[in-house]
């Protein structure tokens, strides 16, 4: 009975060898970790958030460690679609691992623009749409904060690409199920969550915020139980696949998210602690399936018993 389980998943047309990806913003554009782990082993690579034009991001400090987590405010620094395609895609195309590009904008138009430009780049398997960015036209509240603005962005992006479109939801909403339903109806092919939870750290010695941007986002093991809950609510609300992330550090964390409803998972902050963590997690999931006499990783998704 100890056959090697089937680890592959088909995520809205993206064929993945296994369900474990690396999360946007924690794995650069690929080359950074290529010396340390074989990128071909990964289920998919989600690259750092890209905007239509280059963006400088926030001042330093941009990151601070907190208990079982970290708070970051990188501010989405990136070289823009053109340079990304030129400088990183040739490298990424050498691997047999799907590349999902995380994309963002500060207005509906910017989202349309970045999606349209990415649609023309060769070798991209899907677009993860980060809708946790502040809407600069409407007071700086994030697009994902309410279903209406989320729908606007996604419908607009949908028209610009035939690539799988995967909106990434913010965690601080009062009804994630309602948001997810609207996202599905607006044309999303899958949903990914959770993004970091808005957070802040103050240096009591100076009474100043530690981060130059004042506020940032909390990630790491601290947020894992929140991610499990939100993935479960999302899975109950929609039919499209869910990509779960938030605090995955060991295989059991990933398995929990899959049982809650995730078809695939992404490892973020844990890459900083241990660059080979995603490889260990892939092996750990395989081990678990064997122990449980499960033939196929896809049977995990939403397998919660009540």
């Amino acid at each position: 009975m100890n056959k090697i389980p089937d680890m592959s998943v088909d995520l809205c047309g993206i064929h993945m060898k296994n369900p474990v990806m690396v999360a946007s913003g924690t794995f650069g554009y690929g080359p950074e970790y290529a010396d340390l782990i074989d990128l071909n082993i990964l289920g998919a690579i989600v690259v750092k958030g890209i905007s239509a034009e280059p963006w400088a991001g926030n001042e330093l400090p941009r990151m601070v460690e907190v208990r079982s987590g970290l708070v970051n405010a990188i501010g989405l620094q990136n070289p823009g679609v053109r340079r990304f395609a030129l400088e990183y895609m040739p490298f990424l195309r050498r691997y047999d691992t799907p590349v999902i590009v995380n994309a963002w904008g500060r207005s509906v138009q910017e989202y349309e623009e970045v999606v349209a430009r990415l649609n023309d780049v060769e070798g991209i398997a899907g677009i993860e749409l980060n809708i946790s960015c502040p809407n600069i036209k409407e007071g700086g509240i994030s697009f994902g904060a309410n279903p209406e603005s989320a729908a606007k962005v996604i419908s607009a992006a949908r028209k610009r690409t035939s690539l799988p479109l995967i909106p990434k939801l913010p965690p601080s909403v009062s009804d994630i199920g309602a948001l997810a339903k609207v996202v599905e109806e607006s044309g999303a092919d899958a949903i990914s969550l959770i993004n970091t939870i808005p957070a802040m750290v103050i240096d009591v010695a100076t009474r100043r915020p530690v981060l130059a941007n004042i506020v940032g986002g909390l990630s790491g093991p601290a947020i894992h139980p929140v991610a499990v809950k939100l993935v479960w609510e999302t899975w109950k609300a929609v039919k499209i696949p869910v990509i779960g992330m938030g605090g995955i550090t060991v295989a059991l964390d990933a398995i929990e998210l899959m049982i809650a409803g995730a078809l695939a998972v992404a490892v973020g902050t844990a890459n900083f602690t241990d660059p080979s963590v995603s490889v260990k997690i892939i092996k750990g999931i395989e081990e678990y399936l064997k122990q449980q006499n499960m033939r196929c990783v896809r049977d995990l998704t939403g397998s919660l018993k009540n």
Binding site: E32, D35, P79, A270, T273
Partner: protein, 274 residues
């Protein structure tokens, strides 16, 4: 790729993750310690100015590694010199001989070697002496070293430089060793007599204020200078963009490059200080 902006040379780093045994720990002063690790694969590749990223095993609730310059390499072993400044380095100081520690490295680009006719001039503040002492050892010829600190406790590795016949200048803020004042003061006095001479190449590592002052001197007098920057880091390999520094590029544009991967050593003239 952003990597092309690293400076004079660009090494493609060959990095490893290694589980190393602690061979020795040493208390230099109450605040400064050394730790010696059995770490063959990193030791084999290490160059002065490169660093390792340490996972401190007994640090509770931690998510981030801590970066430390490579201080010494001896065959299979690697030494670090560190100062206890916070919870991570405090936990490190409790580690004992025989224990294991996980580290990544060597990371970043080390110091380029000076032109063969140039006199190397090193300027170190506090634990910034660690990579410079390693550089001195690898250089194979003596030069001049300036070392500064708050008190005599912050003046480290003088024995190493003496053995290599370096000219040593010391300054402490309270005057407990060398001249009383900042290391930049004694550097300035020394520079005054040589400013119109060429043939020197500066290497500096220490607190930002000191580095900025040294940068200004180097640029003003047209000396070549190499500055090793100290920024808070996340990944240590260029993936997270926590550690960026504004740098002047060859085409005149300004870009935020990664200290961990594109540095930590940069050409003095390129650094844009806030």
């Amino acid at each position: 790729m952003l990597d092309r902006f690293a400076g004079k040379h660009h090494t493609v780093p060959v990095m490893n993750i290694e589980q190393a045994r602690i061979l020795r720990v040493e208390e230099l002063t109450t605040e400064y310690r050394t730790i010696v690790l059995d770490c063959p694969s990193i030791a084999a590749e290490a160059e002065p100015g490169q660093f390792v990223h340490l996972l401190i095993p007994n640090l509770q609730e931690a998510t981030l590694r801590r970066p430390f310059s490579i201080f010494k390499v001896d065959n299979q072993t690697l030494s670090l010199l560190y100062k206890i400044v916070g919870r991570g380095t405090h936990a490190m100081s409790l580690l004992e001989k025989g224990g294991m520690i996980n580290l990544m490295g060597p990371l970043g680009n080390g110091f380029p070697m000076p032109d063969k006719d140039a006199v190397p001039v090193l300027v170190a503040g506090g634990y910034g002496v660690a990579p410079l002492s390693f550089l001195a050892e690898r250089l194979g010829r003596p030069g001049t070293v300036f070392v500064g600190g708050a008190t005599s406790d912050d003046i480290l590795c003088m024995g190493e430089f003496e053995k290599l016949n370096w000219e040593i200048h010391i300054a402490t803020e309270n005057g407990s060793a060398g001249e009383k004042g900042l290391v930049t003061d004694i550097f300035d006095a020394w520079l005054e007599e040589r400013k119109n001479q060429g043939g020197h190449e500066i290497y500096a590592c220490g607190p930002d204020g000191m580095l900025k002052a040294i940068c200004e001197r180097a640029v003003k007098h047209g000396w070549r200078g190499w500055i090793s920057l100290d920024k808070h880091m996340g990944c240590g390999v260029g993936a997270c963009l926590a550690c960026v520094q504004k740098l002047k590029m060859d085409d005149g544009t300004v870009e935020r490059v990664r200290v961990c991967r594109d540095g930590p050593v940069f050409e003095a003239g390129r650094i844009i200080w806030n």
